[in-house]
């Protein structure tokens, strides 16, 4: 009996003396091994830089240089596919599936109209206007799963996406934002902290003006009557019954809210200044300013 007791005490003692389990002594943690540059007589050696040459001297060749060959980037003097590429617009894709997931995980509140600022505020959608991201391209992946009644404003959407949203009684608008407005939408708070009046949204550039003025694409510059007609046409094409929206619907105001072609943020007009500290809004009184921000 005492022998057992002694044994257990000894075992406990040993256990106490053993090192604690930590990241340092577990195998296969998946943590990347940190490269340690060895020092000392032989541990140091060449520190993984190789023997002789540009690797060891760290005077690397310039990018694209092919040690005397005619470099690839200079080999073809005619590259018409790059013509005007610095003007081309990118639309960062977001699928309906992702959108539904954001809604289901309460990243997006559908009792408010959704726009680019909402998506950026989820923290899951990284817009980079510096890379000519002109907004969100809502793709039709997850069309069958999507089941939310929303009012959303995107920058690009195809027929199937539009149908998926309208089938659920929602509304979609495609709206263009110039690059300056995109910076504001990406981080509205940062803009308000700069103490500047909200600028106006500019008209779309020539290459996309027809897209945003066509009712088929639910363009924000299209005639609303034509849009409601196109909604009906699309429902017949895809074979679903267009849910009717009555004024008594609790979502009516949310679903009907649209931005003015000059407006950047929902509920805020161009020319207004937002004071985040005291939670106040200042509006211009000068007639000239009012006129400027209205046109």
């Amino acid at each position: 009996m005492s022998a057992i007791k002694n044994g257990s005490i000894e075992a406990l003692k040993m256990l106490r003396a053993l090192p604690r389990v930590s990241l340092a002594n577990i195998r296969n943690t998946g943590a990347p091994k940190k490269f340690v540059r060895g020092r000392g007589q032989h541990g140091g050696d060449k520190h993984g830089a190789g023997n002789k040459g540009s690797g060891q001297r760290q005077n690397y060749m310039r990018l694209g240089f092919e040690t005397g060959n005619n470099p690839f980037y200079l080999r073809f003097p005619y590259e018409p596919y790059y013509k005007g590429h610095h003007f081309r617009k990118q639309y960062l894709p977001l699928s309906l599936l992702q959108l539904q997931k954001m809604i289901d995980t309460n990243r997006i509140d559908i009792s408010e109209p959704i726009d680019l600022a909402t998506l950026c505020n989820t923290g899951l959608y990284k817009l980079r206007p510096e890379e000519k991201h002109y907004g969100v391209h809502l793709t039709d992946e997850g069309t069958d799963i999507f089941s939310s009644k929303i009012n959303i404003e995107v920058q690009w959407a195809n027929e199937a996406t539009i149908a998926a949203i309208e089938r659920n009684g929602g509304f979609i608008t495609t709206g263009f934002f110039d690059i300056h407005s995109l910076w504001l939408l990406k981080d509205p708070e940062a803009f308000f902290r700069r103490g500047q009046p909200i600028p106006r949204r500019m008209l779309p550039s020539e290459d996309v003006i027809l897209y945003y003025s066509s009712p088929e694409n639910r363009g924000y510059l299209a005639d609303p009557e034509k849009i409601s007609y196109e909604r009906l046409v699309l429902s017949q094409k895809f074979g679903y019954e267009l849910p009717s929206l009555s004024e008594s619907d609790s979502m009516y105001d949310v679903l009907m809210e649209r931005k003015d072609p000059r407006q950047i943020f929902y509920g805020l007009e161009p020319g207004w200044i937002v004071n985040l500290v005291e939670k106040e809004i200042y509006k211009p009184k000068d007639q000239e300013l009012i006129e400027y921000y209205k046109t």
């Binding site: 308000f192 902290r193 700069r194 103490g195 500047q196 009046p197 500019m202 008209l203 779309p204 020539e206 290459d207 003006i209 027809l210 003025s213 510059l221 020319g271 200044i273 004071n275 985040l276 500290v277 005291e278 106040e280 200042y282 211009p284 000068d286 000239e288 300013l289 400027y292």
Partner: protein, 253 residues
């Protein structure tokens, strides 16, 4: 300088606050318990009750402050505007004051009216927009529609041309076949002629001679010349005959 003063007036910075003014004056001093503040203060405020109270208050405040931070850093930590008085040139700029208002709201003492563009700035903005965005919506649409229509037109024209050409295709195929046939026939004829000539030369020598031989080549040239001569004679003879026939015809008439 006058401009700077104007901006200062414009921004409506509150400089009458004695407390902040004193803090500003000492703001490069490391925090310590000794102070020469009292002398300064006596100079600015008379020996009335309020001033002494204020003096005490400042003293207490300084004693309580053990952070050893510079005043502007301490202000930043406490979410206040870093400088109550402009200390650098940038603090007199419109941009800085705008930022102050955005960050600290009303406590920045910036008049929100200054945040909008001035008349001249507005004019400049309008002028800029006129150049950057010269076209109205309807103009832009019309312009783009024209481009699209032109593109469609060119596609349509090309397709029409293709259809028209397709109808002619069979005829062109036949033409080419005929041309090829004719060319081949001509080639065969020329080859036969040449072969006959070579055969003749071989017959002249009476034995199998290599066509690359100098003698053969010479003879070939001679034979060719003869042939040409013969052809020429034949031609002139035919011409003469024709001429004679014409003359006889005329005479008989």
């Amino acid at each position: 300088m006058e401009a700077l003063l104007n901006i200062r007036k414009f921004c409506n910075l509150n400089s009458s606050n004695i407390k902040t003014a004193v803090l500003y004056k000492n703001h490069f001093r490391p925090a310590s318990t000794t102070n020469s503040v009292s002398e300064n203060l006596i100079a600015t405020a008379d020996e009335d009750y309020e001033a002494t109270q204020l003096k005490k208050e400042i003293e207490f405040e300084q004693k309580r402050n053990k952070s050893r931070l510079r005043s502007h850093h301490r202000n930043l930590v406490h979410g206040k505007i870093p400088y109550s008085e402009p200390v650098a040139d940038i603090h007199l700029t419109h941009k800085y004051n705008r930022m102050l208002f955005g960050k600290y709201g009303k406590s920045s003492n910036v008049n929100p009216g200054t945040l909008w563009p001035t008349k001249s700035e507005l004019q400049e903005m309008v002028e800029y927009e006129k150049i950057a965005h010269p076209f109205s919506f309807s103009e832009l649409v019309a312009k783009q529609k024209k481009v699209v229509d032109e593109e469609e037109m060119s596609v349509k024209q090309r397709q029409e041309k293709i259809l028209k050409n397709l109808q002619k295709l069979e005829g062109w195929k036949r033409e080419i076949a005929a041309r090829v046939e004719k060319k081949l026939a001509d080639l065969a004829k020329a080859k036969a002629k040449k072969d006959a000539l070579i055969e003749e030369v071989k017959r002249h020598f009476g034995y199998k001679i290599d066509p690359k031989d100098e003698k053969f080549k010479e003879m070939l040239v001679i034979k060719e010349r003869e042939q040409k001569k013969r052809l020429k004679e034949e031609r002139s003879k035919a011409k003469q005959e024709r001429y004679l026939a014409d003359v006889l015809k005329k005479d008989s008439k």
